[in-house]
Structure formats: C-alpha cells, structure tokens
C-alpha cells in the first residue's frame, strides 16, 4: 500500500463520510496508535469515523476495492492489542455510533449502536427495573461493539454468563462490505448460529453496527460479604465448598495479600488488616433464596478459616467492598511502576495448587505477582510487577507471565478467559490448539473474509487458507497507560 493509494482512498471516503469523519493528519492519527495494551503501537494509515451502518459499510467496501486491511475500534480499552491498527490500513472507529435505539423491557431487549458504552445500557434500562448483565470492570468506558468482539465477561458472569449469552441479534458489515442481520429479538433463528460464531471473533469476521441485547430483570435482593482469610489456600477451599454446596453466587472474587496491599494504598477500601486473601461473595435473586444461601455462605467461609466477615448493610457499604476489587488493576500501579495484566483460566478446583505454583515461580525468579481474580470460574488475573527502568526486568516479567499461561494450559485451562487473543497471545494459540484445530477455525474465517482484510494478524498465528499477514510480536514493554487505568 503506497501513500497515493491511501490518499485515493481518503479522497473517495470524504464525500461519503464527511471531511471531519476521515482523519489523515499524522498527529491526529497518533492518538489511535494503541489500545489498552500500550506496549504495541502502530499508527494507522487512515482513521474513519462512520456515523451510520451505511457509512461503515461504504468504508469497508472502499477498503475492499483498494485491497486495504481494516481494523475496528470501539473505546480502545482492549487488553490484548485487538484494536491495534494496521500500518497500511484503515482504523474504523465506532465512537460516533452511540445511540441507544430502543429499550423494550416488555421484550427484555435493548437495541444499541456499537459505540454505546456498556454501563449506559444498564442506565437506560434501570428506570424499568432491568439491567444489562455482563459487567466488565471497564464498563464505564468500553463499548458494546468491543464487548461483542471480545465476548467480554465481568464479575457477575459466574451466574449470568458472558456477552455471548446476552446478545440475541446483530447487524454486521461483512468483510465484503455487505450489511447482514444475524439473529434478532426472538431466539433460535433458523440456520447456522453465525451470531454465536461472530461473538468473540475479535473483529476478524466483520464489524457490528447494531446490537440487540438481552435485558435482565433486576433482582429483588442483593447481599454482599467480604471475608478475610489467612491465605489463598483457605480462600480457595471456601470457594470450592460454596460451589459444592449447590450455591451459585452472582460473583465470587478473590484478591491475595499483595493485591490487597495495592488496593488499600490506592482507594482505602478498609479490607481486613493482615489478611492473606479476601473473598468477595455476592448473592442475588428472590429475597427468600438469597437469605437461605447467604447463611450457608457465611458458615462455609467460617468453616474454612475466615477471620473477619463483613456484610454490606447497604449499597454504600457494598460499593466500598467492590471498590477495592474494581480498582485493583489501576491500584497495582501504586506499588509498582510497571506491570503485566495476565488473563488465564484453570478449573476452579485447581486454584490452590496453581496459586502455589505461581508463588513458587514468583519466588524463584524474584518477580512479584499480585493475584486478583474471578475465583468462581477459575479466571485468574495475575498482575506481574516490574520496573521498566531496570534493565532486564521487563523480559523477566514477560517470562513469568508466560510461565503462568503454561500452568493454565497444563491444567486443561485456557490462555484467555475474557481479554481475548488479539495481538498479544497469537503465539500461545498453538499451545492450546492443534494445527488442525486452528485450521478448522480458519474455515470459518475464510467463509466470512476470503481476502483476509478484517483485522489481519490477530487471533491466529499463521495464515492457513486465506493468506493473511501474520502478526509480528514485538519487544515486551508492558505498561498500562496511567491515564486509562486511572479511570477505574
């Protein structure tokens, strides 16, 4: 792709989108050079800001005509480099598609444009007594389109499931530039479940321009407790006991000593002093059910060695309990100049063993690891701390981070539970899947994107059938942008 090709493309797009919607100024382009994983930076050749699905489709068609790759971007909070631009491609940003088109509590549905912020859907539904269940910690800024692409989860996904369980319809611009509807307000549309295949495809099967989401009736009762334990072994055992008792909490979250220390320093959440681990357990549903199970949960926590148990008396106290957890990523910035946010999954019962292994590796290599995670579903978020100013530390941290993923794979888990493969974990895919498995996934991709123009180089390590350009992995300088992290 030459500069003239791009300027031809820009010239073609301007009359369609409007001058202000097509950015080619180098300085302005720079603001889009990375997503939430700031170690990867690429300045896009062009940025397009469509305001409608038709404009988005026209942009994709222009890319197809010019043979130029395109990358979708929502709010740019992704933590795997999924929205990393292509140096010779167009970044299609949905930030000007932010209308909530309909809120229909009687159908338990809302229809929104892709740039709509996750939390805004719940806000719009709240007056009717409904909410949008998937709640990533980034929900104040991340977009629904990004959630769809990543199949994002959140603390409450233990009970309610992930984005894929809450999206019933999509309008999609295919990599050919066609507008297609998949699913709708009703369930079980006839034919292949392309909607299900699209969710979690990280922008490699097209761009979604309208999303029909399921709204969930707000629960009658919500009860939250915080329990302090001597260490993660006890907290892990309590988690397993709660699940084994047949209780399905809305959320079970765990933080270890280092994560508690960081959260305390950052937001003074007042977690039990000296605790080696805390569990946050939240139950919701009909009051009678919640009360019965809450008693069980308190008892099981005590039986497994909980010292202090704090029960939120009201919404303000609940918010305080959650504050420490929700700010954990950013808080780690207070105790370490740099850190890697890892995202791996293990079977829940392997928790104590895996945490011990992580502690061993951390001690051996002299790299500190803070653990914050969705204990209920075994989704770990180890935060690997380092100081980029000290030569060699970044590489060491990267090694520890990789070793943690190896442990996850060895326990039959996954290399990512919610942050996606993106650019970051392309190299890990062959450790989790065989060449044939990956080849089979490529069949789907080739059906949607025979030219390999939609977010090339992401998710899959090698182009198998459609010949896309493989992603280069660059040096590791993991550093979350302070400005972004502070939002939470």
């Amino acid at each position: 792709m030459t500069t003239t090709d791009i300027s031809t493309l820009a010239t073609a797009l301007r009359p369609v989108l409007g001058d202000a919607q097509v950015i080619s100024d180098r300085q302005e382009l720079r603001t889009y050079e990375c997503d939430g994983l700031a170690q990867y930076r690429v300045v896009p050749a062009l940025v397009a800001l469509p305001r409608t699905a038709a404009e988005c489709a026209a942009t994709v068609r222009a890319c197809v005509d010019a043979g130029v790759p395109f990358v979708a971007r929502g709010s740019g909070t992704g933590l795997s480099g999924g929205a990393l631009p292509h140096a010779e491609g167009v970044l299609i940003v949905t930030s000007q598609m932010r209308a909530i088109r309909a809120v229909r509590p009687e159908d338990e549905r809302a229809v929104v444009e892709p740039g709509v912020i996750n939390l805004h859907v719940s806000r719009a539904a709240a007056p009717f007594g409904y909410y949008y269940a998937p709640d990533p910690s980034s929900q104040q800024v991340c977009s629904i389109g990004g959630n769809v692409a990543e199949n994002s989860g959140g603390a409450h996904c233990l009970k309610y499931g992930f984005t894929t369980n809450h999206v019933t319809g999509l309008e999609v611009v295919t990599p050919d530039g066609d507008l297609v509807r998949l699913g709708g307000p009703a369930p079980d549309a006839p034919g292949y479940d392309l909607l299900g295949a699209f969710v979690g495809s990280e922008g490699t099967l097209g761009i979604t321009t309208e999303v029909t989401v399921r709204l969930t009736r707000s629960p009658e009762s919500v009860r939250t407790l915080l329990a302090g334990f001597a260490g993660t072994d006890q907290a892990g055992a309590a988690t397993s006991a709660i699940i084994a008792a047949g209780v399905l909490p809305a959320a079970i979250e765990m933080m270890d000593a280092l994560a508690i220390e960081a959260a305390e320093a950052a937001v003074r959440c007042g977690y039990p002093a000296g605790a080696g681990a805390v569990l946050i357990v939240e139950l919701d549903g009909p009051a009678a059910e919640v009360d019965a199970h809450f008693t069980d949960v308190e008892r099981l926590c005590r039986e497994h060695g909980a010292g202090e148990i704090r029960v939120a008396a009201d919404d303000a106290e609940r918010a305080l309990i959650w504050k420490g957890r929700k700010s954990a990523f950013a808080a780690v910035g207070r105790i370490s100049p740099d850190y890697i946010v890892q995202d791996g999954v293990i079977p829940r019962t392997a928790l104590p063993e895996v945490l011990r292994r992580i502690a061993e590796i951390s001690a051996q290599r002299g790299v500190r690891v803070a653990n914050v995670f969705h204990a209920g579903d075994g989704n770990l978020h180890p935060l690997v701390l380092f100081d980029d100013a000290v030569p060699g530390q970044a590489e060491q941290a990267e090694e520890v981070s990789g070793a943690i993923l190896d442990i996850c794979i060895a326990h039959g888990g996954s290399i990512t539970g919610e942050h996606g493969v993106g650019m970051d974990k392309v190299g890990h895919m062959p450790r989790m899947y065989s060449a044939d498995d990956l080849d089979t996934m490529q069949l789907l991709r080739c059906a949607f994107d025979p030219r390999g123009l939609a977010n090339p180089g992401k998710v899959f390590p090698t182009p198998r059938l459609c010949g896309e350009v493989p992603g280069r992995r660059r040096g590791a300088h993991p550093l979350q942008e302070a400005g972004l992290a502070e939002v939470f």
């Binding site: 229909r104 509590p105 009687e106 159908d107 549905r109 990543e150 199949n151 894929t164 066609d178 297609v180 998949l182 709708g184 307000p185 009703a186 369930p187 079980d188 549309a189 006839p190 034919g191 292949y192 392309l194 299900g196 295949a197 979690g200 495809s201 009736r217 707000s218 629960p219 009658e220 699940i243 084994a244 047949g246 009909p286 009678a288 059910e289 199970h293 999954v345 079977p347 019962t349 075994g378 989704n379 039959g412 888990g413 996954s414 990512t416 539970g417 919610e418 895919m429 989790m432 899947y433 065989s434 498995d437 089979t440 996934m441 069949l443 789907l444 080739c446 059906a447 949607f448 998710v459």
Partner: protein, 418 residues
C-alpha cells in the same frame, strides 16, 4: 462382486463396525448403501477419510429419534451411527463440568450426574422410551421449558470435538467455563443438523440440582388473559425457571410456572406467584403436557418464535388460523422465552398446512420471529417451505462450502438446500 467401498470402510475400523444397509436404515425415505458404527473418534475419522476418498454422502444418526426432522437427503451412501461412541469421558464435579461422548443417551448422562447432585440443565422433550443422544440434541438444538433460566445448548456447551467431512479431527473451546481463545465452533455445530461434520465429544457446564421445586398452573379463557398473566410473571422478581403455556384447540390456555430453589424459598415464592396469577394450583409434579412436544409421531410439528411481547399475539393468531382452516392446531411452549411449538394432525391436508404456515409466518415476522416446520409427513414436506426466510443465508452457504465443499454431509436437509 466384491464391494471395494465396503472393504475400504471395514479396513478403516475393527471390522464389525461396518455393514451393508438393510431395511430400516432409511433416512426420511432415502436408503443408504452402508451403515457404520465407529467405536472411537479416531475410528470415525478413519471412516470419514474413506468416505471422502470415495465421495460418499453421509448422514449421522444418533438414536434416530429425529431423523424425520429436516428434509430427505438429496443423496445418501453412508449412515454413520454414534451408538458406540458412548460414555462419560470426565465428570469433574467440583468444577461443574462434564465431557461426554456424542452417542451417549442424555437420560443416561443425567443418571450419572444425579448422584453428585448435578445436572445438565437441558430439557429434552421426548416421547416415552425415546433415547435422544447428546449429539442429536446438540445437532438439533433441542430445548425445553427450563431454557428460561439455564439457556439452551449454545449456553451450556463449552467445548466440542468434531470430525470434519474430510476426516480431520478438530477441537474448539475446552473444559473450562470461561474461555475466549479462538472461534466458538461449538455454536456453529449446534443446530447444524449434521451438515458440517460429525460431533464426537461435547464438554458441558453443569448446574446443581435444586433441592425444591413447585409448579403453578392456571387456566385462562383466551390468549389475551394468558398474555397478561405471562407478562405479570415476567415483570416480577420471582426468577422462575420456566414459564409455559399450553393452548389446545377450542379449549382455554393453561399457563404454568416452575419455581426451583431452596425449600423455604420455593414456598415463599409460590405464595407470591399464586397471588400474581390470581389463583393457581400448586404441585410438586409438572402438568402432564410439560416439556413435551404437542405432536405425535407422523404429525406436523412447527416451531414458532417471537419477541417476548409478541407471544399473546402469536397465540391469538394460531387460534384464529385453526378456526378459519378448521384444523385442530395445538400450540404449546416457552412463553417466557418466546419459543412455541405447534402441532397439526398427520391427516391435515398439505394445502391447509401450507396456508397456515404462510399466515403464521406473517405474524411471527411482525414480532421478530420465525416459523420452522420441524417434522412433517413427506407429502406436507414437499408442499411447504420448511425453513421460511433465513437471514444471512449467503454467509451460511459459504460456511458450508468451506467445511463440506462437496456437499456430502446431509445434503439438502438444512436451510436453503444446504
């Protein structure tokens, strides 16, 4: 004359797994030439490599209970049975997951899970004695009343092993509940009616068995009254596991609610639900029609979907169509999720079925849904468009062309002639 193909197929297996087809092997009236029942995923892959080399058209059969769902295959050489691909590979009770081979009867799986106080939270509407397999349930995307609380196959399936039409073995997903690495091919194979390949193993998320349950039923005189009851339950915070309606021709509409939970919780919620419904019978056992399709073998079976608020309209439209066409159309299903099933007797004139389907399609389209003819006598099948309009059909054809370029797997049995 020796049959080379049969010899090749036999050589790919332990020998006993393959036989020439006989009476009773036909699929929707189309007879295969060979029948194979592989004993392992590897053997299945070897068989399918032979099928690919020999250009054999293949239909997969589980228990065979739903072979009349979907049209007759355009051609058929090899019937591949999963009856020997059975058993639980792994049940990790503490992790609430199970890995099971596709030929395992769902009932058998549930019996294995129950002692651990667990279940695959999937209803499989079944006539007595039918033994639907895990693979068949996944391939037809079967669901029942409790989908309202637990979702359907797509929500519970966390990993899948398949053999592609070219004989290549592939996995997607895994055995942890949370996993976003790579495409979710399980979703693609769910409801694909065996047109993309053979499912050999499935990993599912499990749920604890509830300690108590209560069914509440009440009768409404018309669709509007039933509709307002349904709406009242939906708007409540009672978190029911299922909300069903049953509308027999000429009769009223029965509404039934399932509550699951702790003993005390269910008791208190049942009291509240009873008040909400304006009176109801509370029982521990389901009403007789619960979780069963309204048709009998050989009848016409329809699936009608709608946005939730469109359910009363659909019930009224069905009653109206039944009256005008003098056809005893029974409608039943999940008012709480917008999925209903309709039945017409086998003897209904094909023209009447076609007219009713067309009219109902206009109604479902207005409320964002579809009408699919799940099962029908051959004469009816020839007369009606089984699937109706399908969004994204072009993309679906492209998916099929990638997985099965020679169109050898269940050709013609799926949407748009796929």
């Amino acid at each position: 004359m020796p049959d080379d193909v049969l010899a090749d197929l036999a050589a790919a297996t332990d020998g006993d797994a393959v036989r020439p087809a006989g009476d009773g092997d036909a699929v929707a009236g189309v007879a295969p030439r060979y029948v194979a029942a592989p004993g392992s995923t590897e053997e299945a892959a070897a068989l399918l490599r032979v099928a690919a080399a020999r250009n054999l058209a293949v239909v997969v059969r589980g228990a065979g209970t739903k072979q009349d769902w979907g049209g007759p295959p355009r051609r058929l050489d090899l019937l591949l049975q999963t009856r020997r691909l059975t058993g639980v590979v792994e049940h990790a009770a503490g992790d609430l997951i199970v890995v099971v081979r596709a030929g395992t009867p769902v009932a058998e799986l549930q019996a294995k899970l129950a002692p651990a106080g667990q279940q695959l939270a999937l209803d499989t509407p079944l006539p007595p004695g039918a033994a639907a397999t895990v693979g068949g349930v996944v391939a037809t995307n079967t669901s029942g009343p409790r989908r309202m609380r637990y979702g359907t196959v797509r929500d519970l399936l966390i990993g899948i092993t398949v053999v592609r039409p070219d004989g290549v073995l592939a996995r997607a997903g895994g055995k942890v509940v949370k996993n976003v690495a790579g495409y979710d091919l399980g979703k693609l194979f769910t409801g694909a009616y065996g047109t993309l390949g053979l499912v050999t193993e499935c990993a599912f998320r499990l749920h604890p068995l509830p300690t108590a349950r209560a069914f509440l039923s009440c009768r409404s005189s018309d669709a509007a009254e039933a509709g307002s009851r349904v709406a009242a339950v939906l708007a409540s915070q009672l978190a029911p596991s299922a909300l069903e309606v049953d509308a027999a021709p000429g009769g009223g509409t029965e509404t039934a609610v399932l509550l699951e939970g702790t003993a005390r919780g269910v008791r208190e919620r049942a009291t509240a639900a009873r008040a909400l419904l304006g009176g109801a019978t509370v029982t521990e056992q389901p009403p007789p029609w619960w979780s069963s399709y309204p048709w009998r073998s050989g009848d016409v079976g329809l699936k009608l979907t709608a946005a939730l608020s469109g359910v009363p309209r659909l019930l009224a439209a069905a009653a109206d169509a039944a009256r005008r066409h003098r056809a005893p159309l029974t409608v039943r299903g999940s008012a709480g999720t917008g999925v209903l099933y309709g039945a017409l007797p086998a003897a209904t004139a094909p023209e009447a079925v076609a007219a009713i389907v067309t009219e109902l399609r206009a109604e479902t389209a207005a409320v964002g849904g579809h009408v699919v003819v799940l099962t029908a006598p051959l004469a009816v099948g020839e007369r009606v468009d089984r699937w109706g309009p399908v969004e994204g059909l072009d993309l679906m054809r492209r998916v099929k062309a990638q997985f099965d370029p020679e169109a050898r797997f269940a050709p013609g049995r799926f949407v748009g002639g796929i």
